[in-house]
């Protein structure tokens, strides 16, 4: 079985050498997601696709994957036009896609998941497990086909999807924001794997928001903005990060970017305590346990929370927002036990920006209903008169928070992820907050949106609100926070003042306590990522 096709130069009759699109157009209602895209991907190359939220990257990928069908324009393989009407067409043409969100079914085992796609409803192919293992081996990692997907880490799940793609003889593999969900070491392992695939004549395309990641790991780079290609570079001619940002964001420029030079963080000892957590242990339903958590957060400070995802961040957010009342230990809001604060008041005082939009918005409701959601549930009923009020408020918030929606009557489910996040932020920042819990608020956001979120966070803190800010980007945490607490396995592994917080010190705390394993590549400490030629330009 030719697991990695074209691994020898004489692949099947010279097919699969290039995958290109010409004049690709795709509308969603009145939104032009792709507006005449021309781009070509070659085998044996790693090609990065860059662009803001809503630039049309995911749409392009979904067209190539057969999830959407283009309104006009054509897809060519080796110069021959092909039709891709559904995902199985794409697979037949050797195009494999690893989507942003895992398409594996958690309750099923690895081999069951793969056989679902391979054979449909037919009997289980007994050789499949063996083929899967050997495919993984050739790709350079280990895989246990009988383990249940729900027990795997996100990185392992991604590798399962990649192995699955190569079972189906993929000649091109397209990964949509593959690193968003990965810990730093897992990212390095992934890029090691992608380079290896390219060296075996596979065409690799990946989408990312991280410029440095793109610069360091790709031979070619294409930048999209508003559905069109605005830049295309070979490795030798890749411009600076700053130049790339300008291309992606365009004439809008980076109004909020001055924030990068953060004014000296204030660790004023006189500011009063907002929240005190003492000795909290135990786990919320479906959560992981916290162990003896002690934490004090002052008014007007941004407390960054670092840690590999799944080490207690969700549980800490549930604790801080009062969604979970622990059996052991206490949590007090300005000296008052949080469990004694009535729900309505709690919702007004404790802001919550969850990382999963399923906890944050109701997709079937309009923008204005989502913006006014807490208020309508607790303080002000939605009478016809107030409806006018809420819609007016929402119109202002849409302007203030730059929410891209046709109108406040548009459904939130129709907005892009970044805009949904803005809706949530708009709602939460409209309250009289004592504390805001922001869980990965910039995850998946483009550069400009992320800068805005960081600016809103700082402004909120300056107005006296305590902010708990979680992020997987250590540079971002250092930039935004006054202090950084590192979570590892449900414990606070350490709290660092800004002076002592560096990527190295935080990374050591994160890794020392979690023991993240790197598969398929040398162990790389987070500091290793600092080696980029022009690393300090914009991000840090």
């Amino acid at each position: 079985m030719n697991v990695v096709p074209g691994s020898s130069a004489n692949g099947p009759a010279g097919t699969g050498r290039s995958l290109s699109v010409k004049g690709l157009v795709k509308h969603f209602g009145r939104v032009k997601a792709n507006d005449g895209i021309d781009v070509s991907f070659s085998s044996g190359e790693v090609h990065a696709l860059l662009g803001e939220n809503g630039a049309g990257k995911s749409t392009l990928i979904k067209i190539l994957a057969g999830v959407y069908h283009q309104d006009s324009g054509e897809i060519l393989i080796d110069g021959q036009p092909v039709r891709i009407d559904n995902p199985s067409h794409a697979r037949r043409h050797g195009i494999a896609v690893v989507h942003q969100h895992s398409t594996l079914i958690p309750r099923l085992s690895v081999v069951e998941n793969v056989s679902l796609q391979e054979g449909g409803a037919g009997p289980l192919d007994r050789t499949l497990a063996q083929r899967l293992v050997s495919t993984a081996e050739r790709l350079g990692f280990e895989l246990d086909p009988s383990s249940d997907v729900e027990t795997l880490t996100v990185g392992d799940r991604q590798r399962v999807e990649i192995a699955r793609a190569f079972l189906a003889d993929a000649r091109f593999i397209i990964l949509d924001e593959p690193t968003t969900i990965l810990a730093p070491t897992e990212r390095d392992a992934l890029f090691g794997l992608l380079a290896r695939l390219a060296s075996e004549a596979v065409g690799v395309v990946f989408v990312t928001h991280h410029l440095r990641e793109a610069i360091e790991n790709s031979e070619r780079m294409t930048v999209l903005r508003r559905g069109t290609v605005v830049g295309h570079f070979k490795r030798a001619a890749i411009p600076s990060e700053r130049e790339l940002v300008r291309l992606m964001v365009g004439e809008l420029d980076l109004a909020g970017r001055s924030l990068a030079q953060t004014d000296a963080p204030r660790t004023d000892e006189t500011t009063t305590e907002c929240i005190r957590i003492a000795g909290v242990s135990g786990a919320p339903e479906d959560g992981r346990p916290l162990h003896g958590l002690d934490l004090s957060i002052r008014r007007g400070e941004v407390l960054g929370i670092a840690g590999v995802e799944g080490n207690g961040q969700q549980e800490l957010a549930a604790l801080l927002t009062g969604a979970w009342a622990p059996a052991v230990g206490s949590i007090e809001l300005e000296g008052r036990p949080l469990k004694n604060v009535p729900s309505g008041e709690r919702i007004k005082l404790l802001g919550d920006v969850p990382d999963d939009h399923m906890f944050a918005t109701a997709d079937e409701l309009t923008v204005w209903e989502n913006v006014g959601l807490s208020e309508m549930a607790w303080w002000r009923a939605r009478t016809p008169l107030n409806t006018r009020f809420f819609r007016q408020v929402a119109r202002e918030r849409v302007r203030e928070f730059d929410i891209r929606t046709p109108s406040v009557d548009g459904l939130v489910g129709q907005l892009s992820g970044g805009n949904r996040r803005r809706v949530v932020i708009a709602r939460e920042l409209s309250k009289q907050l004592k504390i805001l819990v922001a869980s990965y608020p910039t995850k998946g956001l483009d550069v400009r949106s992320a800068e805005q979120v960081k600016r809103w966070t700082r402004e909120l803190a300056e107005s006296g609100t305590a902010v708990v800010y979680m992020s997987s980007e250590l540079e971002e945490l250092i930039e935004v926070s006054d202090r950084i607490a590192v979570l590892a396995r449900g414990r606070i592994a350490g709290v660092l003042a800004t002076g002592e917080a560096t990527v190295d010190t935080i990374g050591a705390l994160m890794l020392g306590a979690t023991g993240v394993r790197a598969t398929g590549g040398p162990e790389i400490t987070p500091s290793g990522r600092e080696d980029g030629p022009d690393s300090p330009s914009g991000q840090s």
């Binding site: 969603f28 209602g29 009145r30 939104v31 997601a33 939220n53 809503g54 990257k57 995911s58 749409t59 979904k62 942003q100 949509d176 924001e177 927002t321 009062g322 969604a323 729900s343 309505g344 709690r346 919702i347 919550d352 969850p354 999963d356 399923m358 906890f359 944050a360 918005t361 109701a362 997709d363 079937e364 409701l365 959601l373 807490s374 309508m376 549930a377 607790w378 002000r380 009923a381 939605r382 009478t383 016809p384 409806t387 006018r388 819609r391 119109r395 046709p406 109108s407 406040v408 009557d409 548009g410 459904l411 489910g413 129709q414 907005l415 892009s416 992820g417 970044g418 956001l445 483009d446």
Partner: protein, 376 residues
């Protein structure tokens, strides 16, 4: 309608640019009316299509299609008396339909309308056949008692669902049988009136019965049912409590994060739904049948599920949809009597719009599922 995601996703939004320009968006009265119209728009289409489906059924029943339709509609629209009969028939349908629509809005299926209405009617029998003969306004007492009876029968599955996670579909269905057989057992003994040939209770005292207004053509029960529908609509649309129920029905995880007690909302929704169905049973008892017997309900508890589904969770739309079913019920007996068409054929007609609407809802959510929003 254009095939855009925004049009297909709700199927209710008007097309075209609409920045804050939904019809009557800011005028309260227009919003009320607009809401009811919107809620019935697709349903009306489904009902018309299903009337067309009736044609071959009429032929199969051995009747002329035109005659059949004429008979079906003239039973209601042929006379004030016939129209009044339709209104009477729609009273329990409206109230029990609301009893399904309320939990439906919170994401729950109440299939126990049958048991709840029977319990409401049973308790209403006890208070209206007691020593006191009633008087002006006394009808209020059996209605309240009926509501409470239904609320208990609906509240029990509510408790089980909210705090024990027991599937409410199973518990509400099973309670139907418990209440029905309990009443049948009562009818073999203490409840049975001695002067009746068939098993039936004593008749409600005249002082408790619902009058007919406007020269005997407008049943008071109908006025009450519509009033209740408006109140329930107002509670659902314009109160914080109603909004919380809606959020629970739309997104559990979001609701919990917003400090809303999901168990409490579940309990309230099922108890209130049961209460409304019980109210329907009591209203039928004092407005129409006056006695409870083994065949007190021709299956309203299940028809109500169809009504709530066709009204698509809109409390006001329940009224016209229930009236349509009242019209069918009315026409059924007259088709049977005058044209010899089996009444069950007409009941088959009732199923058609349900299937159509269910298919439309299913298609819309399928479209929504595959038409993801633009990604980042």
């Amino acid at each position: 309608m254009a095939k855009t995601p925004s049009a297909s996703s709700v199927a209710l939004e008007p097309d075209g640019p609409q920045p804050g320009l939904r019809p009557g968006s800011d005028a309260p009265l227009a919003r009320y009316v607009g809401s009811a119209v919107k809620g019935t728009f697709w349903t009306a289409g489904a009902l018309i299509v299903s009337l067309a489906i009736l044609a071959p059924l009429l032929v199969a029943g051995g009747a002329n299609v035109i005659d059949g339709y004429a008979e079906l509609f003239s039973a209601t629209f042929g006379s004030f008396f016939g129209f009044g009969l339709m209104l009477v028939a729609s009273v329990p349908l409206i109230l029990i339909g609301l009893g399904v629509a309320v939990p439906f809005r919170a994401g729950l299926f109440n299939i126990g309308g049958e048991g709840q209405l029977l319990m409401g009617a049973l308790l209403a029998v006890y208070v209206t056949t007691a020593a006191w003969g009633g008087g002006p306004g006394a009808f209020f007492i059996p209605l309240v008692v009926g509501f409470l009876g239904g609320a208990i029968v609906g509240g029990l599955p509510g408790v089980l669902k909210a705090w024990r996670g027991v599937n409410e579909i199973v518990t509400t269905i099973m309670l139907n049988f418990i209440v029905l057989f309990f009443i049948q057992w009562l009818l073999t003994g203490s409840l049975r009136a001695e002067d009746q040939t068939f098993a039936a209770s004593e008749a409600a005292n005249r002082g408790f019965r619902l009058d007919r207004l406007v020269g005997g053509h407008l049943p008071l029960g109908f006025v009450i049912a519509v009033g209740v529908a408006i109140v329930v609509y107002w509670l659902a649309q314009h109160t914080r409590a109603g909004w919380r129920q809606r959020l629970v029905g739309l997104n559990l995880r979001l609701s919990a994060r917003q400090g809303i007690s999901v168990p409490r909302q579940y309990f309230v929704a099922l108890a209130l739904g049961g209460g409304l169905a019980g109210l329907g049973g009591a209203a039928e008892l004092i407005g129409n049948q006056f006695r409870i017997g083994p065949n007190f309900s021709p299956g309203w508890g299940f028809t109500a599920v169809a009504i709530a589904l066709l009204a698509r969770g809109n409390m006001l739309a329940v009224v016209p949809v229930a009236m349509f079913f009242g019209l069918l019920q009315n026409g059924e007996s007259s088709l049977q009597a005058n044209l010899g068409i089996p009444g069950n054929l007409v009941l088959a007609l009732a199923a058609a719009p349900v299937i159509i609407v269910a298919a439309v809802i299913g298609y819309c959510s399928y479209r929504r599922a595959i038409m993801e929003p633009p990604d980042d």
